[in-house]
Symmetry: C2
């Protein structure tokens, strides 16, 4: 059982879902394609950690809805006592930043502007989730508590990333202005 499988199990423990729905639910916290998720769900069903049924839909293709079983719940509870892996981030922008000195300042500005838009959208995304959680569901005993603290983290991180982008863009623009005035004098 890998971490993604446990994550899917955890989502299913809160609400039965199809593979497609799970892909959408887990995406903001763990990027995984449908081609990775479907085989993991099949394998967990084979191990009796999940059960499934086909649900007919009008106007949409039929879907296979998975539910967690009692052995699945047991496995989940065990996971919470296993050692926690550290967070891993892989960002091409960091590696490219090492090469800023060998490229045109225009290329650099485009790169950070593009990333700025992503962080801005990310901020809106988590802000919308947060706004949808009413005050009375924001305490530990509520089912929505985890959504509340995770969306808060997403929002805080996006705001910091946005702030950093704006700061870098300012430094780059300042440098461009100084270079222009230098040419005139």
């Amino acid at each position: 059982m890998n971490t993604l499988s446990y994550g899917l199990l955890g989502l299913l423990a809160r609400k039965e879902s199809s593979g497609y729905e799970l892909m959408l639910r887990i995406q903001p916290f763990w990027q995984a394609k449908h081609s990775q998720i479907y085989p993991l769900l099949s394998a967990m069903e084979d191990k009796q950690l999940l059960s499934s049924r086909w649900v007919q839909q009008s106007d949409k293709p039929d879907k296979k809805v998975y539910m967690i079983t009692e052995p699945g719940m047991q496995k989940l509870r065990e996971w919470m006592h296993l050692p926690l892996a550290p967070s891993v981030t892989k960002d091409e922008l960091s590696l490219r930043t090492f090469c800023l000195w060998l490229s045109d300042i225009g290329i650099a500005l485009d790169m950070y502007e593009e990333r700025r838009k992503l962080y801005f959208d990310k901020k809106l995304f988590f802000n919308d989730i947060l706004k949808a959680i009413p005050e009375d569901q924001r305490h530990f005993s509520s089912k929505e508590f985890s959504d509340y603290i995770l969306a808060s983290k997403g929002l805080m991180m996006a705001e910091t990333e946005l702030k950093w982008c704006d700061w870098v863009l300012d430094l780059l623009k300042q440098h461009r202005l100084q270079k222009a005035s230098g040419h005139r004098s």
Copy 2:
């Protein structure tokens, strides 16, 4: 050529290094083991993007130092014009947070305390890098500019993560207190 290969090329463009040194230099921004880095360096040497020489050391094992070649520099400059991949983060803590409701509050407190320590050390790490960059090297034209803005990002992110952990820990401790007083009344 994958992203990690370009990243190694970018580090070598700034300073010749051994595989071991590259592993240490890239680690804060892209976690990769030596077993992944050594074969990539070999492959890039075969493609004439790098050259190498053995350097003898007293008190330490000999090391194989790689230098970037002119075709390697060309490849690097091309990379800066290719589409930029979005950042990917995989954090087991987020997936576990979905399952908070099914575990003991003590387990939750331990988990966030443990992570808090990690973020605290991360903050110190980037703060030390930042302190080592003098004021006159913090402008765009300096070789150290990329180190300056990357260490700043690392510090800002670590501070936000730390703030989030403290906030979550406060919420959990508040809840525990309320439960205790509820039992008394």
